[in-house]
Symmetry: C2
Subunit: 312 residues, 2 copies
């Protein structure tokens, strides 16, 4: 299909949108902060204003579809979303609302980490690969699996939740209700809190971004926290490699920008926890696209639907 897709990224910090053509080129990108404490209709109103702004900036083109990456959980493919970090939307019928507003064209909603994974597969570090895990290590930890060249959706559209692999059975409780999940250990706020409890930035709120900054500047506790995160990610990846027989793992998200401070301990953990011959050739690399990759992936749900949209 040629023509533009209206691509949308729904996150707890910001909403972003833009126009993406069939080659993956992104234009007319705008953002708006997610209204703190906003109710369902306030959030919807902010979103529609943003989309109008994007369409106007793009010259009001005919769009061929709307693609959305949203924080989970959600019902899929029906697209009622309940993003953990957006309290005002619980079972909010985002797909249906967008379809009412943009009649006659398909509207497809998927998980935001899945969007990043398929963007990396379409145009980023995973281009041409058949079996890959794409993951995001940021405020949360999520991902998507491309197997045999196609996105794995699973029974309910929720495949790829690598953040909820158990990396330490005696580990901390997770927001999902489980114990010892990767996300409970390695998401930015968990690493920041772990460092905080050990004396890092004892007198102020601090974020995963602060943590990576201080680690780069040499702060030993900040470095230890990133090492802790990297080890946990490495354990999880070792498990996925054994289970899914991958060629490639692509890691994006804010915490991944710590570079070797994360990837060093990650690779050491991989070495410790993998031994099977077929895991040895798997490459583990940083994301190839920038922070707008979620929009590119949301558009890929339409532009590359044969590979990334199984719901018909």
């Amino acid at each position: 299909m040629s023509g533009d897709v209206l691509a949308v990224d729904i996150g707890g910090t910001k909403f972003a949108a833009g126009l993406v053509d069939a080659t993956g080129r992104l234009r007319a990108v705008h953002r708006t902060p997610t209204r703190p404490g906003g109710n369902a209709e306030e959030l919807w109103s902010d979103l529609t204003a943003l989309l109008d702004r994007v369409l106007a900036a793009g010259g009001n083109p005919d769009i061929i579809g709307v693609g959305v990456g949203s924080g989970g959980p959600m019902r899929w493919p029906s697209g009622e979303v309940s993003p953990l970090n957006i309290a005002g939307w619980r079972d909010f019928p985002l797909r249906e609302r967008l379809a009412d507003r943009h009649p006659g064209i398909p509207v497809r909603v998927h998980n935001d980490a899945v969007a990043v994974a398929i963007a990396e597969h379409w145009l980023g570090a995973g281009r041409g690969v058949s079996h890959m895990l794409g993951m995001v290590v940021s405020t949360g930890v999520g991902g998507g699996l491309v197997l045999g060249g196609r996105l794995l959706d699973g029974a309910t559209g929720n495949a790829g939740h690598i953040g909820h692999l158990v990396v330490d059975p005696c580990g901390p409780p997770c927001v999902c209700g489980g114990l010892g999940c990767l996300e409970a250990v390695a998401r930015g706020p968990a690493l920041a809190r772990w460092a905080h409890e050990r004396g890092w930035r004892a007198n102020g709120a601090a974020t995963g971004r602060d943590l990576t900054d201080d680690a780069r500047a040499g702060h030993p506790v900040a470095r230890a926290a990133l090492a802790r995160g990297g080890e946990a990610v490495g354990v999880a990846i070792a498990s996925v490699m054994a289970l899914c027989d991958l060629e490639l793992v692509v890691i994006g998200g804010g915490i991944s920008q710590a570079g070797d401070l994360l990837f060093g301990p990650l690779r050491a953990a991989l070495d410790r926890h993998t031994g099977l011959e077929f895991t040895e050739a798997v490459r583990v690399v940083p994301a190839g696209l920038g922070q707008e990759s979620g929009l590119v992936g949301a558009a890929a749900l339409l532009h590359q639907g044969a590979r990334y949209w199984s719901a018909g």
Copy 2:
């Protein structure tokens, strides 16, 4: 395809073979113990004698193909096998040898735990399900994933190695070279050794079978060992559920015959380690087929090749 498949199961304890028709009915089954210390040609000679016996017992039918489930690792789909428990075969060209002996018909070799998984999907507890994990907990721990109704082979035919998910980063070393793998904790010999170190059957060699017998009779250390195994299996399944968004997990193999002594702690661990809504509906059940399911699955590589054989 109608007609019989000559089905073969290559294990460290025994070789088994039989004829399987297009409905999955198995007949003319024979077995021979795996010759201890046998070299490559001795093992091959034992196998061919077994196959001749099966074909004669079956009335020398025209067979439409040969399907093999073999202990891993192996090269796939070329079928050079190096079963961990059969030292005499290292990169043994099993597929090629069988193809020379049975010219003009396809010969397909896959992992023995994969064979059990696809048998359960074809005719057992997984019939009609689209997304399932089939696993075997026995002398080793292995499995196969059926996703979207088809076997996942992965990049090199090695997908499904659930025995090498990391269930405890500080756990025991595994034969694969990793640390804390499910198999290192939960395979029968590991559980027996764990119990032995705690005073169970202190003066004799003992097997996983002895362990389940004694646990059923109420021996507290034997029960604790099975609970340890069940918990580790539960942790691994929790991770696979999050990653692959399954409908069903089917568990077979000798240790699984301990029933609630294994499944009770397994379900408790699943409860502790899963919280996401989409994992709650996943059923975890014992295998529906008997101990010959590996032969049925080996035949399914041919009778149901569209679903279970992707290599062309």
